[in-house]
């Protein structure tokens, strides 16, 4: 799970790059960049959850 999150994050980065290359107007660029950041945030959340310690007796 931790690696899935870390793999998702570059997808958001490439979405951001695509916004620059594909759209000339700032409005659509901003929307695409925000989508890219949302994907990065999702990846980070998945990575964080993958690294969290289990609770209670399941802790190492």
């Amino acid at each position: 799970m931790k690696y899935a999150g870390l793999l998702l994050m570059p997808a958001g980065f490439f979405l951001t790059i695509a916004a620059l290359a594909l759209f000339p107007d700032q409005g659509r660029r901003l929307a695409f960049v925000l989508c890219g950041l949302a994907v990065i945030a999702m990846g980070l959340v998945v990575a964080v959850r993958g690294h969290m310690l289990p609770h209670g007796d399941n802790r190492p």
């Binding site: 931790k2 870390l6 793999l7 994050m9 570059p10 997808a11 958001g12 980065f13 490439f14 951001t16 916004a19 620059l20 290359a21 594909l22 700032q26 660029r29 901003l30 960049v33 925000l34 890219g36 950041l37 994907v39 990065i40 990846g43 980070l44 964080v48 690294h51 969290m52 310690l53 209670g56 007796d57 802790r59």
Partner: protein, 440 residues
């Protein structure tokens, strides 16, 4: 996009404009004061760790700086490309994207470079020295010295040069304004991205790979409090950091956003206001939450204010700087608590919040407060590049490194303390070291 990267001669970096002798001398003087910030962070790293690891922590601060500086001189400065002899570019959407510098190795040609380029390289040396201390503090009490040095080498050879080229040395992020009409390109006058956000992300990677200190997250209860061993070191470190930060932000304003000398007093005042606003906010939050202000969290708040100012002190107004610092001071103690209690992240110095989150906030705030329209978009693109590409790269490199040079000390070493285990002597040999209750 052209799949084959092309190596082309680099254009003359923007900072190589005419600079008066007075401006050159002033910038050099400021850069010679900037190591005070590094000294402050080193003291904070040591004070927030345990007494039985204090000597190892301080020796590590020095060793990591030495490794980073040597590696950056040999390899990193070439990839950063501030001396500007060649660069690797991609072509896409009818534009050139400079992705990596490719100058001479071993700083060849430094003495013949323009004085402004020499100052830029000096700024990068100081930045990489600061950067490597941030994950070292987060790995306190369990990160081995050899692993710290190896991670510093990776940061100085690959990660920092990549970011520095993109942001400072004519790379694609700094060219967003000229290539795509997005604001003035990504702005990072004081290293909020290249030093602090990068440092915060490296700290998170180190903490995840090394794991928490033994006994930090017991089976019963959420978390064990492991307070730093010397609050005086920590608070004095904050004062030292202020001196360095005033110089750092002022030098960065001259070098990276070409601020006139008349703007420097404003930059310094903004830095001070940001730190003060952050301290006032953290003091209030901790006073409200715990009934009394918390010294180490207040120190973290002060530092978070300085970090946030790194991004926007050069062009924000005093009121805006106070606001930026105030927001950093409010979220710093709260986020530190969330990371520890909810996400089981053991970060003794709070670098993930203080440098990572506050740096991120400062960069976004710079988008709101910069005079040029469209700057917010440029800042968001830069943040996406660092979080979406550079952070996974750091984690991957550190995870690979951990296979060859294990990050975490063995359980006996951790029980004994890093001082005795790694360097054979303690920082306070005449003190009685108390038994740690968490090892019963």
């Amino acid at each position: 996009m052209n799949a084959i990267p092309l190596m082309v001669p680099a254009p003359i970096p923007a900072q190589v404009a005419t600079m008066t002798d007075a401006a050159f001398a002033l910038t050099l003087g400021l850069l010679l004061l900037a190591p005070m910030a590094i000294a402050g962070v080193a003291l904070i790293n040591t004070g927030l760790g345990r007494s039985r690891s204090a000597a190892q922590a301080m020796l590590g601060n020095l060793a990591l700086i030495a490794v980073a500086v040597i590696v950056f001189a040999f390899i990193g400065a070439s990839f950063a490309g501030s001396l500007g002899s060649a660069e690797i570019v991609l072509h896409a959407a009818g534009k050139t994207w400079s992705v990596l510098g490719l100058g001479s190795f071993l700083l060849h040609g430094l003495n013949a470079a323009a004085p402004q380029s020499q100052l830029a390289v000096l700024f990068e040396f100081l930045s990489v020295a600061m950067l490597v201390l941030l994950p070292w503090g987060s790995g306190a009490d369990r990160l081995r010295l050899a692993a710290g040095c190896a991670s510093a080498a990776i940061l100085a050879a690959i990660v920092f040069p990549l970011a520095a080229h993109w942001i400072w040395a004519g790379g694609w992020l700094s060219a967003l304004g000229t290539n795509f009409g997005v604001g003035a390109g990504f702005l990072d006058a004081g290293g909020a991205a290249t030093v602090h956000l990068l440092g915060g992300m490296s700290a998170l990677a180190v903490v995840w790979i090394a794991g928490p200190r033994r006994g930090k997250f017991p089976k019963e209860g959420l978390s064990t409090a492991m307070p730093g061993h010397n609050a005086t070191y920590v608070l004095f470190g904050c004062l030292l950091a202020l001196v360095g930060w005033l110089a750092w932000n002022s030098a960065g304003a001259i070098l990276w956003v070409h601020a006139p000398l008349s703007a420097l007093p404003g930059t310094a005042i903004n830095t001070l206001l940001s730190a003060s606003g952050a301290l006032a906010a953290t003091y209030s939050v901790t006073r409200f939450r715990f009934g009394k202000p918390d010294a180490s969290l207040c120190a973290n708040g002060w530092l978070a204010g300085l970090v946030a100012s790194s991004a926007c002190a050069a062009f924000a107004s005093p009121v805006e700087s106070l606001f930026v610092g105030g927001v950093a001071g409010i979220f710093t103690p709260l986020l530190i608590e969330v990371l520890e209690l909810a996400l089981s992240i053991d970060d003794p110095t709070g670098a993930i919040t203080v440098h990572g989150a506050a740096g991120l906030w400062g960069l976004i705030a710079a988008g709101f407060f910069a005079p040029k329209p469209g700057q917010l978009l440029a800042q968001l693109i830069g943040v996406a590049a660092l979080l979406g590409f550079v952070f996974p790269l750091i984690y991957l490199l550190f995870a690979l490194l951990n296979r060859f040079v294990p990050f975490r000390v063995d359980p006996d070493g951790e029980r004994m303390g890093m001082d005795l285990h790694e360097i054979g002597g303690g920082a306070y040999p005449e003190f009685v070291i108390h038994r740690d209750e968490s090892y019963r």
